[in-house]
């Protein structure tokens, strides 16, 4: 009885692991194909499509040399993306955490109503606001500026929600003791509370950073000037109905994934905390 049980376990273990290895291979194929293609001339991509053939005759570092030394805007877009991502993360985190502290630390008139507003924002797809938001940005003369990307999301509902959940676990005694010591309300937040929020800042920095780095639609709508493009927009413009610049597109796509992969490997735990933040019941 016991023997057949452990044999069954061994079989299910092998089946399961094989199954996951197959899944792993399937998931990795697109990455592998892109990596391969970044070493092949764009012309071969046009002729044969994206494939897995390992043909050393046509593979070279030409695309990489072109990426780093050629005449194109890739690195303008790359640094624009860096700038927008960093600015957006810093400002969004600063403002959202500040707001979340107000919700978590105090009872005040209108608090419930305001918190329902936070939830409401999370419930309505942003896309339906595209048109009125665009005309608002136009009226405010913010078209073609990075403020148009950063400002609307600066008090980010999801981020506020996450920080509030996190802050609720912080003992109220800390706030009380701060008051006893004569610190004012803001000093309590900045000197006592903010330092202990570090892990939640890390999780939200990564989640917001990832979204910002990959954001396409809204920046694409509000940025018209090629010198201001972020990376996803720039990559998109390499595909046109009149012809595609595959030489730069594939190597550029490959290279744009790398910063995020490095961050992911370094801060895996925070990525996962940030991603699953919403699913944890409050």
């Amino acid at each position: 009885m016991g023997g057949s049980q452990s044999r069954n376990n061994l079989i299910s273990r092998i089946v399961m692991i094989c199954f996951f290895i197959i899944l792993f291979v399937i998931i990795m194929i697109p990455f592998y194909a892109v990596t391969l293609s970044s070493f092949k001339p764009g012309e071969s991509l046009i002729r044969y499509g994206l494939n897995l053939s390992l043909d050393f005759n046509i593979m070279s570092f030409d695309n990489f040399i072109y990426l780093f030394t050629g005449q194109h805007d890739y690195f303008t877009w790359f640094w624009n993306s860096m700038f927008v991502t960093i600015a957006q993360v810093v400002l969004t985190l600063f403002v959202s955490a500040f707001v979340a502290y107000g919700f978590a630390a105090y009872d005040f008139k209108g608090k419930n109503f305001l918190f329902i507003c936070v939830l409401l924002i999370m419930m309505v797809p942003f896309e339906i606001l595209l048109v009125p938001l665009y005309s608002l940005i136009n009226d405010l003369h913010l078209v073609n500026s990075y403020s148009a990307i950063i400002l609307p999301g600066i008090a980010n509902a999801g981020t506020i929600f996450f920080f509030r959940q996190y802050l609720r676990s912080i003992p109220k005694e800390i706030i009380q003791s701060g008051r006893v010591d004569g610190a004012n309300e803001y000093a309590i937040y900045f000197r006592l509370i903010m330092p202990i929020m570090k892990p939640s800042f890390a999780a939200m920095a990564i989640l917001n950073g990832m979204n910002s780095w990959n954001n396409l639609l809204w920046p694409f709508m509000v940025l018209g000037d090629q010198s201001k493009f972020t990376l996803p927009i720039g990559l998109k413009t390499l595909l046109t109905p009149y012809g595609n610049n595959y030489d730069l597109l594939i190597v550029g796509s490959f290279f744009s994934i790398i910063p995020i992969f490095i961050l992911f490997i370094a801060f895996q735990k925070y990525f996962i905390d940030g991603m699953t933040a919403g699913a944890v019941k409050g």
């Binding site: 998931i27 991509l45 707001v99 507003c117 309505v124 595209l130 048109v131 996803p232 927009i233």
Partner: protein, 298 residues
């Protein structure tokens, strides 16, 4: 005097939430309200609006292209629900099992696709589903003797391509949601069931699935929104907002076409309102049937 006012314990909370109130009013409430108003207007950017009542809505009802867009978005959403809930749940249960090895490795590697931007992932899949004989998908189908397919010119194939892209990007993420849901299930339930001689399937059906319900509700809710509001995936896959016979056109794609490409702001706003209503109705029904509201009343 002002300093004392701002520093008082009564006023401080309002100072803290003030940035939210500003952003909420300026960048959310105002556009949303404006969207309602615009949807009853004939309006172009930089011109005076004209009030036309419900004309935009009655025009939408008979707009065949809009109905195609709704159909595409709804089919896509249903596809993501069917593919991106049961399978990630099952994978999470398998990864979580005691028999599994290399848990962390699989968890992180399944997550990697979610790190790629739509611009990059869409490009990769656009090429994977290229019409050439040698492109990835066609050479795969070729192994089974299938003739090369022009995926992105055929309605059903291109929907399949969009769904495969969605699965590739989101399976790992939904699996993580389920894994964090599984963590909160007490092991005692399983031990008790084992003593009663329950099979693995019975345990899954009677313990795991019901206790994962909050996660399932969450994943369903976000999938409904994300599915109905999908646009950039199609934009990248078809290299623009114009797909042959609109096979890749989604509701938001149509909103974009009318509002941004054709500058018909009023008509686009009406599309947005219809989308909002559809999303709300589906999700509220879903939440009602899953007993979400009942629980809050208790």
């Amino acid at each position: 005097m002002i300093k004392k006012f701002v520093y008082s314990q009564k006023v401080a909370p309002y100072v803290f939430v003030l940035p939210f109130i500003f952003i909420f009013l300026i960048f959310w409430s105002y556009p949303l309200l404006n969207s309602f108003i615009m949807s009853f207007q004939d309006r172009m950017l930089g011109q005076d609006p004209k009030w036309i009542g419900e004309a935009n809505y009655s025009k939408l009802l008979t707009d065949k292209v809009f109905l195609t867009a709704i159909k595409n978005s709804v089919v896509y959403m249903l596809g993501t629900l069917v593919l991106l809930i049961p399978f990630p749940m099952l994978f999470a249960v398998m990864i979580n099992s005691k028999l599994m090895l290399g848990r962390e490795f699989f968890k992180s590697s399944f997550f990697l696709p979610a790190l790629t931007s739509v611009a990059v992932a869409g490009t990769i899949f656009r090429l994977t589903f290229g019409e050439m004989e040698g492109s990835l998908m066609n050479s795969f189908l070729g192994l089974f003797g299938v003739e090369p397919v022009k995926f992105l010119k055929d309605g059903e194939w291109s929907m399949a391509a969009l769904l495969i892209l969605a699965c590739w990007r989101w399976t790992g993420v939904n699996m993580l949601y389920y894994l964090s849901g599984l963590k909160s299930i007490d092991n005692e339930y399983y031990e008790a069931a084992s003593i009663d001689g329950a099979s693995a399937w019975q345990k899954f059906k009677n313990i795991t699935m019901p206790l994962l319900k909050p996660t399932t509700i969450y994943v369903t809710t976000i999938s409904v929104y994300a599915g109905l509001a999908m646009f950039t995936e199609s934009l990248m896959m078809f290299n623009g907002n114009n797909s042959p016979k609109n096979i890749g056109l989604t509701i938001v794609g149509y909103l974009y076409r009318q509002g941004i490409e054709k500058n018909k702001l009023g008509y686009a706003a009406a599309v947005g309102i219809v989308l909002l209503v559809i999303a709300m109705v589906i999700n509220l029904t879903q939440l009602k049937f899953s007993g979400m509201f009942k629980k809050e009343e208790d």
